[in-house]
């Protein structure tokens, strides 16, 4: 049975998630967007963004995912700058407009 966690935004499928900030190399804006797309396809990645202008990315992972492995699969040169576990409720809070 799938476990649900109560939040102030209704029940959520995660209690905690990993937020990973990283630096990467990319040839072009187009290439960066495509890398973001392929990373987001991974079931372990919940949401995220790769910014070509700064070569910095932020991805939110399920806690049982292996960020290093997933990132290195798609990005040839990547350095993880920080990794922290946060409550998923914080992600929902940042997504919502009414807080």
């Amino acid at each position: 049975m799938k476990e649900w966690f109560e939040t102030k935004f209704g029940s959520a499928p995660y209690k905690e998630v990993s937020i990973v900030k990283f630096s990467f190399e990319a040839d072009s804006h187009e290439d960066t967007a495509f890398k973001q797309y392929t990373l987001l396809l991974d079931a372990g990645v919940i949401q995220g963004h790769l910014e070509f202008s700064t070569k910095k990315g932020i991805l939110i992972f399920e806690t049982n995912a292996n960020p290093k492995e997933i990132l290195s699969k798609e990005l040839t040169s990547v350095t993880i700058d920080s990794e922290e576990t946060i409550a998923y409720e914080k992600v929902m809070e940042s997504n919502n407009m009414f807080v």
Binding site: G10, P13, H29, F34, Y37, E51
Partner: protein, 545 residues
């Protein structure tokens, strides 16, 4: 007030052909520079993927109609509180940055909330229904309430209209409660997207929906013959009867596919007119292709807005003409004028001019009269824009409103207009006094005919998605433009619904219905054919013989 837009395609909005935009590769979904250009009287969109080569697709079937629509391109305000999220999405990787991101130009005019992925039909062109063993996505009432609250907090204009969709929403036992929640959260327009089956076969259900707060049913209806409408040809008359008893309005939603139902548009309009006490409108939706499809098949089945309008002209014997249709953002001149008079941001429909078109028709002494036959629509919009500009430049609101009062009758042809309509009074009350009570009567005596062409990966134009004002609310708080939601379902629709779904086994354990949760509708054709509602429903064309 407007958030800074960084998009590379913003500046080309409303530019002459050819113009630059961005699109995706239909094969790998890589984002690509693209060009929208004139191709011998048609408008095409082309781009080249480094891996999969060139894709060149019809975008609009008529360059001249495209240019006419472009004349109504309006600037949208967007949102002040875009929800870019903790991952700081800036929109630079559109359409993978939703949303809504800071690059988005429109507020939510209609919020879509998918309440289930179960459906009791299995239409061949729809891929969005769960099969035996699949996870089931049915957000809880609390999750739905939060999605509604979220959209209601958009600034400066809160969302005010919601459509519950699926799957088939009426398969949920708690659908009535969900509708009540939308009303509790302050939504004035609550629409239910349905095949109509539950309504047809459950006496009193239409009334219960109406009592709970449903404003309109949005019912798929692809044609008036067995060939064009295998889905609900036999059932629709019963759905209409139930709605008639309940006083619940219907908008018919035909999906248009060349070679399937493109010969039936006139009959669909005729059918609607014969039931105009119940049917408030028709929203024709030219097909958008899901999944990969060879070019020959796309060319065989694709219809775009101008060719659908041409078909309407032919099939209504020239009664409804291309010039009767206006692109949706044309109404921004009305919004602009009211905003100037009231000094407050208004609900606006500032989507891309290529997304849709619409008109209204009336029945007067047994004949069909399109609204532009008796209102100089372009002249009125131009006059409203001039008054708004004058007020912005410091002229008196009272004097400019008085000019409107003096001039308004000159835009109306009294001889041709329906006699029961006091249009001058209705327009002045709505525009200057903001008294919209008479608009209800306008809608009841008219039939809305609209077109909305949702995109697919082959004709995808980022410029359109940035201005989309029909959005999906997701339970994680993000808000996704309709065509991003469906063009890259793997990132939005499917991904989030998988995260928020329960396994088939878990769903079955908790399911309280008497049938299987995925029971399919079984038609009793002989019985339906015998039903008086069906016998009187179709038959000879009344208005376009």
């Amino acid at each position: 007030m407007e958030k800074k837009k960084q998009s590379v395609v913003t500046n080309s909005y409303g530019a002459d052909l050819p113009y630059a935009t961005r699109s995706v590769c239909p094969e790998c979904k890589r984002t690509l520079d693209a060009q929208v250009y004139d191709n011998n009287g048609k408008v095409n969109i082309k781009r080249t993927c480094p891996e999969h080569g060139e894709f060149d697709e019809v975008y609009w079937d008529s360059t001249s109609e495209f240019n006419r629509a472009k004349g109504f391109a309006s600037n949208a305000r967007g949102l002040l509180n875009t929800n870019v999220g903790i991952t700081e999405n800036t929109g630079t990787n559109c359409p993978y940055d939703c949303g809504l991101c800071t690059n988005h130009h429109s507020h939510t005019a209609l919020a879509n909330i998918a309440v289930t992925n179960r459906c009791d039909l299995s239409c061949w062109y729809c891929f969005f229904y769960a099969k035996e063993g699949d996870p089931i996505y049915e957000p809880t009432v609390d999750q739905i309430r939060n999605m509604l609250k979220n959209m209601k907090h958009q600034q400066p204009v809160p969302c005010n209209a919601v459509q519950f969709t699926g799957g088939e929403p009426t398969l949920r036992e708690d659908m009535i409660d969900i509708i009540k929640v939308a009303r509790e959260e302050g939504y004035q327009h609550v629409q239910l997207n349905t095949t109509g089956m539950t309504i047809a076969f459950n006496e009193g259900y239409a009334q219960a929906l109406r009592n709970a707060g449903v404003s309109t049913l949005y019912v798929s209806f692809d044609g008036t013959t067995e060939k064009t409408n295998p889905k609900n040809l036999y059932e629709m008359p019963k759905t209409i009867e139930e709605c008639r008893k309940a006083g619940l309005g219907i908008v018919l939603v035909p999906t248009l596919i060349k070679g399937i139902n493109d010969g039936d548009l006139g009959n669909i309009i005729d059918f609607a007119l014969r039931n105009v006490d119940v049917i408030r409108g028709i929203d024709f939706q030219p097909v958008s292709f899901v999944g990969r499809m060879p070019k020959s098949q796309r060319e065989a089945q694709r219809i775009t807005i101008p060719s659908a309008i041409d078909l309407i002209e032919k099939q209504t014997n020239g009664v409804i003409k291309p010039k009767d249709f206006f692109t949706i953002p044309c109404v921004s001149s009305v919004t602009n004028f009211i905003e100037t008079i009231t000094n407050s941001p208004q609900y606006s429909l500032d989507n891309h001019f290529a997304c849709g078109a619409a008109t209204y028709i009336f029945i007067e002494e047994g004949k069909v009269v399109p609204l532009p036959d008796f209102i100089d629509v372009e002249g009125l919009f131009k006059f409203l824009n001039e008054r708004a500009e004058a007020i912005k430049l410091g002229k008196s609101k009272t004097i400019e409103s008085a000019k409107l009062l003096l001039k308004i009758k000159s835009f109306i042809n009294e001889e041709k207009k329906p006699k029961a309509l006091n249009l001058a009074k209705l327009l002045f009350n709505a525009l200057v006094k903001h008294d919209y009570s008479a608009l209800g009567e306008f809608h009841k005596s008219s039939l809305f005919i609209g077109m909305m062409h949702f995109m697919d990966p082959y004709n995808y134009d980022q410029q359109r998605v940035e201005r989309c004002d029909i959005h999906y609310a997701m339970p994680d708080g993000r808000v996704i433009p309709f065509c991003a939601f469906n063009v890259v379902p793997e990132l939005y629709r499917d991904k989030v619904q998988t995260q928020y779904s329960v396994s088939w086994d878990d769903f079955k354990k908790n399911y309280k219905g008497s049938d299987s949760p995925l029971a399919k509708y079984k038609r009793d054709t002989a019985k339906l054919k015998d039903d008086p509602a069906f016998k009187n429903a179709y038959g000879e064309n009344k208005y376009f013989k």
